[in-house]
Symmetry: C2
């Protein structure tokens, strides 16, 4: 740098390449430096890549020290060299040298640091670490178990610090946050990781607006300076509106193509399957209009199997309602509950298809934040629709105006839950919690039919002067992957697991000897015929 | 506050107590507030403790809202009320309300924040999260195992991110840090926790002095403002000197009472057991002098069974060497290696005994930091003294001046390991690492007789242009417990486990049904006659 002129300095880094046997190009994350090698030092050509320390004086090379040599690498560290995902994972320590991965990991560190400054220094939050060796939560089917040295007793790796954050409110830590490691054993699911990180926040004496405002400030404060600034407050819509307009509870609001209810157009229809749909309770006919979605075949005429079954007036009405122009594509769905989610999915697929063929639908540099609120507190269980289960978790408080229904019509109760959505991905969720033990017991025991004794410590805690409280958890990995435009959360995690939950570099999980398992009083149940696979 | 005069404000907090049915004393972590209740509102006397929100105008109470009520608590939240450890743990959410625990947790958060600012903002370190579901490390007998859904395959919860931090150096993340959750399954050990937190640091192109300077700056920067400032650099002594002067590798330098070699005094002795001791290889006679340790019986005469066996000249010499005065206590130990550690332990016990009887030995407000360096790289294995094992871990580099001995006399090699000691407790340790694959392979395979294939990914990484690197890990829990003067690290952890590794609040670890274990292909081996204990 200019300030260093005349100074004797030592540069340490990696040799990126040799040029004409005369110049060494050295690399570290901050950039490149070119060093001229005097002619009597050309023996350097022996190495392809090695670590080097060069002592330079007034741009004159004094000495060169080769700090380490390098084998022939399985792939070159150049951005244009395409590597398979499994090769990248196997040699993650090389893959991380790419400029994109360096940027991702360094941005992650900076963004997290800004979040901490905002929470801890600006807003007085207390960073509290909570245990990861915990007790199995009721219904915690996705929790990894960890055998202890006591026969039959297991710890559990929790999916979130939910219980601890609420207990901290009872404990008078009125503003808690933690970058919490969480665990979820979901087998193989696309772009999920068995361990992930959430920005975990809880506050006492707060309402929904308080949490929303805090998070908007947090995002704004920690937002990368090189991106367009984020404006606040974020728009906020109800769950009902989201389902009505987008057919999904996490709408991508970077583009329109909203759902339209076109039932009216068909209320006298003779078309059998549409009539059937409308006659069902809750039946409706929905449509989305994809601008220029059929531009290749556009001649202004309506092209559809329905064409000949619809009277001209209905067609006119339909086109008017949909504001469809020649070349547009109208997609129609008829039915009950599944009707909107189906079109919601088609809406996203159409956007992708259009973008794939070069039509600009979504601005890739745009970041659309959105709050979704007023979710139902309970949903019918899939396997037994007469039973209710929590839409999110059993600790969410009802909306004050619905609270009286908790004891009479629980399925009508909306919860004080809020989701934060970014570009159509849920990046966070939280709620105002139930802070009265009697309400919590009613929800657990009477509505959800859970054994409340499993949560007796939490019920006792609520009964010990628990303040009103609420919080949120942001999925850090997902949030970052959207900011950097990464196709997978694996690109913002230093050492991620593969799709199947494997660490391809170290080959974890791995076999453990029977002897080592003895101290945990467990044995492996080998599936029939599989015992031969055992390596030890 | 003065600035709020004339404002309408809402106070939220807990009722600490009622005074004369007229005043409510409200509490939160920041202090107390007294609120006068108008005479027509005295119905408040019903509650002992409840959460309250009071709207006050110009110090006139406008309204009171009772936000929650409170059961009769198992103990009062008053600092002078003594609680048993198990009661504190069972109702941790109440215990944390004490002013001491509030102070400890809030100080922890602030100190950690300052550490992050220093590392991330001042020194450009990158905060990288590393996995906790990993592969079992060779000899990792203290690692918890986590069954996966693949039969016989287990993850392991690592004791430290050692491999990852080194891989990050190879990956070009030249300055890494992390507040890392670590796991160690040691069964029941006093004041250990199955999960704990370390400040984990690694740097490329660094030497011992570089790491030491960094850590001294880190401690200074993050040191609580209310304590006397820490002066740097910290004193530094060799392992050999520490053993010679204090009989321990983590000396408490807040007081003297150093060990003295008094072998000379006895080199012509007729006392049989002393003669035997001196005749052994490495035999010596050591002493410590406890000032005023025998003041109650002081008359200037030497009181000892050895008295009549020693010539007057030897006695004279002994007293002179020990600089003993009337009333002092001299403790003598004769033997070989065990001789110094034994006196080292007695030295600490004497300090405790003296302090117990009111003698000021150590200043309770003093913080003595100390570096201990030049440890042996290998030690003879306890079970087979012809074999060597790593004194710390197999990745520590030899001292440059001893490096040539690695291939000839490995037991003579000193390592580039450094321990940070505070008031006689090891609070951190680290080393400059081996960065050449051939040296690392030699250590693993030839010296330690380990199977190098278990670490093949690390060897390959070192062979891929690994830079010289080194680092350190500080035990955050221990460090904090010394700063706040807590008797146990449990007092600086929000939700610690008991001595036996139990969470007394939630009763973890707990039984898990056979069915739930099936997806992990494991079954419990019940010890004979123990199956009846199974709760499910």
């Amino acid at each position: 740098r200019p300030a260093d002129v005349g100074e004797e300095v030592t540069l340490c880094g990696w040799v990126q390449y040799l040029r004409q046997d005369l110049f060494v190009i050295m690399r570290d994350f901050s950039g490149l430096a070119q060093i001229l090698i005097p002619q009597d030092e050309v023996r350097l050509q022996v190495a392809v890549t090695f670590t080097i320390s060069a002592i330079v004086n007034d741009s004159i090379l004094i000495s060169v020290e080769i700090l380490n040599v390098c084998r022939k690498l399985p792939f070159e560290i150049k951005d244009f060299v395409k590597k398979s995902e499994s090769l990248r994972m196997q040699y993650r320590y090389l893959d991380l040298r790419s400029s994109q991965m360096q940027y991702n990991l360094r941005l992650r560190s900076q963004l997290v640091m800004k979040m901490r400054e905002y929470l801890c220094n600006v807003h007085g939050f207390v960073d509290v670490e909570t245990p990861t060796l915990f007790k199995r939560t009721p219904g915690g089917a996705k929790e990894f178990v960890v055998p202890s040295r006591e026969p039959g007793r297991f710890y559990s790796l929790p999916q979130s610090p939910q219980q601890f954050k609420q207990l901290l409110m009872v404990a008078g830590i009125d503003r808690y946050f933690q970058l919490a490691r969480c665990y979820r054993d979901e087998g193989s699911k696309p772009d999920r990781q068995p361990e992930f990180t959430q920005v975990d926040i809880e506050m006492s004496f707060v309402d929904q607006a308080g949490i929303r405002g805090l998070i908007e400030g947090l995002v704004q404060y920690s937002w990368p300076v090189e991106k367009d600034p984020v404006s606040t407050p974020f728009p906020c819509i109800t769950y009902e509106k989201a389902m009505k307009d987008y057919g999904v509870d996490k709408p991508d609001t970077r583009f329109a193509m909203k759902l339209m209810d076109i039932s009216k157009t068909f209320h006298n229809t003779e078309i059998e399957f549409l009539k059937d749909a409308l006659n069902q309770p809750g039946g409706c006919i929905q449509a989305i209009c994809i601008p220029d979605g059929a531009v290749s075949t556009a001649d202004g005429a309506l092209k559809s199997p329905l064409n000949r079954l619809m009277p001209a007036s209905a067609k006119q009405q339909l086109l008017q309602m949909a504001q469809a122009r020649p070349g547009d594509l109208l997609l129609i769905s008829a039915g009950t509950q599944e009707c909107r989610p189906l079109l919601g999915k088609l809406r996203l697929q159409c956007a992708e298809l259009l973008e794939g063929s070069g039509v600009a639908v979504r601005d890739p540099s745009a970041f659309h934040f959105l709050w979704v609120v007023d979710f139902p507190l309970f949903l019918p269980k899939e396997e037994d629709p007469d039973q209710l289960e929590s839409a999110h978790h059993p600790f969410t408080a009802p909306l004050p105006e619905d609270a009286h229904l908790l004891y009479s019509l629980p399925h009508k109760v909306r919860g004080q839950h809020y989701d934060l959505v970014l570009n159509g991905c849920e990046i966070g969720g939280g709620s105002i919690r139930i802070h009265k033990a009697s309400d919590q017991q009613h929800v657990l025991e009477t509505i959800l039919k859970e054994d409340p004794s499993l949560l007796s410590h939490l019920l006792e805690a609520l009964d010990s002067g628990a303040p009103p409280h609420g919080g949120i958890a942001l999925g850090l990995d997902r949030f970052l992957s959207i900011i950097v435009g990464a196709p997978s959360i694996r690109d913002v995690i230093a050492f991620p697991k593969s799709f199947r939950g494997h660490d391809l570099m170290s080959r974890a999980p791995d076999f453990v000897s029977e002897d080592e398992l003895k101290s945990y009083h467990i044995a492996v149940n080998w599936p029939a015929g599989d015992e031969g696979n055992q390596e030890k």
